[in-house]
């Protein structure tokens, strides 16, 4: 590859030693970046230089690097997952940037997502919301017959679209209120649209909404920033569905127990 094809960038990156220390923006140079690199590979290059120089590398979350695990979580130039719609940061390629660009990189910001280090935040609050109702109870034993339960095709499609949520939390990061409504709506509706999700439907709606509030996420004010940044393109229609489900359940369900206390999974 010749020199003309690479680019030099200036990065402004949030550095924070741990959840207790104050953080600050630090500027780095990323030189000789190939347009074919992913955004995370670009950070790898910077980190290798930092490590070689004996400095602590920039901590960021990642795992699959193929847009399916939901670990990567960077706010790039003010937009969660960066400028390319429908794309996780790990799948964002450097060809969307130009030689000489300045790029600001920050962590997801929300009270419910405390920073652990640099760009890594603690997203277990989302797990605790799931724990409150994002499941169906099934009996163990022999597998049920395939197609024993009829599922309307449209509902199956809609449930599948909701199930595309990878739980990255970009919706929270983008929302001016740090609301998790899109995540909660997708996780509740993927089950509540299906027959298997009916027995716990009312409890699910109430408990997940109460858990979301308890974790300190904000409420939805219908800005629709979440939908715009969601790497999986989950539409805000599911939030309307959740609102309807929640309001109906809260007003008409027979009995719903108080929300049990959350238990954190093992570290």
């Amino acid at each position: 590859m010749n020199d003309e094809e690479t680019m030099d960038l200036r990065l402004h990156v949030w550095r924070q030693k741990d959840s207790k220390s104050p953080g600050k923006m630090v500027t780095y140079r990323a030189n000789g970046i190939s347009p074919d690199m992913s955004f995370l590979e670009m950070l790898d290059v910077v980190n290798e230089e930092l490590v070689t120089a004996g400095k602590p590398p920039i901590a960021f979350d990642h795992d699959c690097r193929e847009g399916i695990c939901g670990m990567c979580s960077l706010v790039i130039n003010g937009v969660p997952h960066g400028p390319q719609q429908g794309t996780t940061a790990c799948q964002l390629h450097m060809r969307h940037f130009r030689h000489g660009d300045e790029i600001t990189i920050e962590p997801w910001r929300a009270r419910a997502f405390p920073v652990i280090r640099d760009l890594v935040v603690d997203r277990r609050s989302l797990d605790r919301v799931l724990q409150a109702g994002g499941y169906v109870s099934v009996n163990t034993g022999s597998a049920p017959d395939a197609n024993a339960i009829p599922v309307p095709q449209d509902n199956a499609e809609a449930a599948f679209d909701a199930a595309a949520c990878i739980g990255c939390g970009a919706c929270v990061a983008a929302c001016p209120n740090a609301s998790a409504s899109l995540f909660v709506a997708a996780k509740a509706q993927q089950l509540s649209l299906l027959p298997q999700g009916q027995p716990e439907r009312e409890k699910r709606a109430i408990h997940m909404v109460e858990a979301m509030d308890r974790e300190g996420f904000g409420g939805c004010t219908n800005h629709y920033e979440c939908e715009a940044v969601c790497p999986k393109g989950i539409p805000v229609r599911y939030i309307a569905d959740l609102n309807r489900d929640f309001l109906r359940s809260a007003l008409t369900s027979r009995e719903v127990k108080p929300l049990p206390p959350a238990v954190d999974a093992e570290e």
């Binding site: 001016p176 409420g219 219908n222 629709y224 309307a240």
Partner: protein
């Protein structure tokens, strides 16, 4: 009762309060505007309407109801705004809005400014503090001469300007509010979303234009203060 307490303890439950009180307030705005349009029919119409309202046996019931609805809207809005603010204690150094509209982002500001206008509006026409010299006219039938108070009042360009500005702010509030409430109560479907957007924009434009037409027509000299 216990159910309702639990409901209104949640963020979505309080959004329901915003949506329901918002619809009721929009209903009030429409009827208030239609009533005020009697100014274009002349002194007799407007003063008759005003006297009818003033003597209405349920006037105080309606006022108490309005105050309750408005109070619930404002108090709930403030409680939600405080929580939503607290949900992001440390903000971004750089943040770009992708989909949010100006009217959605500034809805708390526009709401508070509408509240300020409402206080001024009551001080103006209900309590007569803004233009006291116009407040005590009485017509031939010994009724409060609301027509002359309004028509002479809006001949002042500053007064008219403040009302027009306030109505634009109200329109800004409702640009987001009117469509937002549909989503809040759980209605969102691609087959009618466009209709809702067009319908809510039309309604809001009609409210703003209709309300502004009163002071603007008066200032432009189209309404004769001596007309009967």
């Amino acid at each position: 009762m216990n159910r309702l307490i639990r409901l209104f303890g949640t963020s979505i439950g309080r959004k329901l309060v915003m949506a329901v009180t918002g619809v009721l307030l929009i209903g009030f705005l429409i009827s208030h505007m239609l009533g005020n349009m009697t100014v274009f029919q002349g002194q007799e119409s407007m003063n008759y309407y005003a006297a009818w309202l003033k003597k209405h046996p349920f006037l105080w019931v309606a006022r108490a109801g309005l105050l309750t609805i408005f109070g619930l809207h404002v108090v709930t809005a403030i409680s939600l705004a405080i929580e939503n603010n607290a949900a992001r204690p440390e903000g971004y150094r750089k943040k770009s809005a992708v989909a949010a509209t100006l009217s959605s982002r500034y809805i708390v500001v526009s709401g508070l400014l509408v509240l300020a206008f409402l206080i001024y509006h009551l001080a103006h026409f209900t309590f007569g503090w803004v233009q006291p010299d116009l407040y005590h006219f009485v017509d031939e039938k010994a009724r409060h001469d609301v027509y002359r108070m309004v028509v002479l009042g809006f001949q002042n360009p500053i007064v008219t300007g403040s009302y027009v500005a306030a109505m634009l702010l109200l329109g800004f509030h409702l640009h987001h509010g009117a469509r937002s409430l549909v989503q809040t109560i759980g209605l969102n479907h691609e087959s009618y979303n466009t209709l809702i957007r067009i319908g809510s924009n039309t309604l809001v434009a009609a409210l703003v234009i209709g309300n502004c037409s009163i002071p603007l027509m008066i200032l432009a000299g189209f309404v004769d203060p001596a007309a009967k």
